[in-house]
């Protein structure tokens, strides 16, 4: 057991993460099969998730890069899992994903989207989850959420924010790195 190798340590992605992970956001062509912020899937209802990563002074983190990984609309993971990557807008700090509403992938667990956050000043990526406000009953029974205080659960639940300009249901999910409503980050 002690002859196990040790995981390579993480370092911050830094402010120039776009060069290698999202060149299309700095005026270069996307590379072949480069993951972007839009997931195409016909397995569920199309939704948009928008938000900002907010630092301890209340300022948006405008160099953040975020990745999501979720079950498809039928609750399937593995080869059916859905992945996307988005970067914060350089001016507003807003990130925006288009995906489909995930189905539940594990018995008793409320559907959710896994979210990773990378940025300058974040030495090892942060892992959180976004849940859906209409799943109140499932959240109350979810074994992971039952171990958290209600105020902590609230940091993980998106808010309904109407519709996009194209009539797609819009969810707002802000991630707070510090402060009274600091988002819950997981060790999974």
């Amino acid at each position: 057991m002690n002859d196990r190798l040790k995981e390579t340590p993480s370092q911050t992605a830094g402010p120039y993460v776009h060069i290698g992970t999202a060149p299309q956001t700095i005026g270069r062509p996307a590379l072949p099969n480069q993951p972007g912020p839009v997931i195409e899937s016909n397995t569920g209802e199309v939704i948009v998730i928008e938000g900002r990563v907010i630092d301890g002074a209340g300022a948006p983190v405008r160099d953040a890069m975020l990745e999501i990984w979720q079950a498809d609309g039928m609750g399937r993971v593995g080869d059916y899992g859905l992945f996307a990557r988005a970067t914060a807008d350089f001016d507003t700090g807003t990130f925006r994903f288009q995906t489909v509403r995930p189905g539940p992938h594990a018995a008793g667990h409320a559907p959710h989207v896994a979210v990773l956050i990378f940025a300058r000043g974040i030495n090892i990526h942060l892992h959180t989850r976004m849940y859906f406000p209409e799943d109140r009953e499932a959240l109350a029974k979810d074994p992971d959420m039952r171990r958290l205080e209600p105020e902590a659960v609230a940091t993980l639940v998106a808010t309904e924010a109407g519709q996009t300009e194209n009539g797609v249901p819009l969810y707002r999910f802000d991630i707070r790195l510090q402060g009274k409503n600091e988002t819950v980050f997981f060790d999974i």
Partner: protein, 240 residues
């Protein structure tokens, strides 16, 4: 589908989130402890990004943005293996890299360092590990550069790496440094890792045997991702 759990991440082998010597962490490091959760099939699987074709020059940063000729600088291979904690190779790992040019300047709208851009270099590359976990890039050695932190701090030469293994639980972004660089121990970002032996695992080693004679030096850097817990079944000799 395999759903064996991964070993929990050993945070003693990782940088401290809040490291005031690196000032950006002060407002960006979460101040509450992480909340431990059991993995589900979601974290134990991941996007198959290493199974889709890349561009033919994606791994060659000397040529993949060339307009009038090769990128300027010290020509190097960066190569190694992607392994897991059980020392098994991780095939089909997607490795994405980005770096400054030989003068220490990033080809990025937000980098205002006075050193010149290289019209033949953007510093963006990708490759996928083979069946034995091997990966290879050809690039130029990036230059060190100053950044505002404690006055003018200097980053050691480094290449950023982003790695996707077979599962989301293995996700890793890091930076590799170069053997012998005197700026390594002075760097506030390096020193977010308190343990020098851990820092050493981010240092690529000069490997003369793998040079391209009269062309290109070689630096070796192995990457270790989280491994799955061993099961009794896996320890059995096949056929028993």
């Amino acid at each position: 589908m395999t759903t064996t759990a991964f070993y929990r991440r050993d945070r003693t082998q990782q940088p401290l989130p809040l490291s005031p010597g690196y000032k950006s962490t002060v407002l960006r490091a979460p101040l509450r402890p992480l909340h431990a959760l059991e993995q589900t099939a979601l974290e134990q699987s991941g996007p198959a990004l290493g199974h889709t074709p890349l561009g033919p020059l994606d791994h060659d940063l000397i040529r993949n943005a060339a307009t009038t000729g090769d990128a300027l600088g010290e020509r190097i291979y960066v190569f190694g293996r992607v392994l897991d904690e059980n020392a098994r190779p991780v095939p089909n790992a997607l490795v994405e890299v980005w770096q400054a040019n030989a003068a220490g300047r990033y080809a990025h709208v937000r980098d205002g360092y006075l050193a010149p851009l290289d019209p033949n270099f953007t510093g963006c590359g990708r490759c996928v590990s083979d069946a034995d976990g091997r990966y290879l890039f050809r690039t130029i050695k990036p230059g060190p550069y100053p950044w505002p932190n404690n006055g003018s701090d200097w980053r050691p030469a480094h290449i950023h790496l982003s790695v996707f293994g077979e599962a989301f639980a293995q996700r890793l972004i890091t930076q590799l440094y170069f053997e012998g660089d005197p700026l390594i121990p002075l760097c506030p970002i390096v020193n977010t890792i308190p343990d020098k032996t851990v820092i050493d695992r981010l240092v690529a080693r000069l490997d003369m045997r793998n040079q391209e004679p009269f062309d290109c030096l070689a630096y070796r850097f192995d990457i270790v991702l989280r491994g799955r817990r061993q099961t009794h079944f896996e320890n059995r000799t096949e056929g028993l």
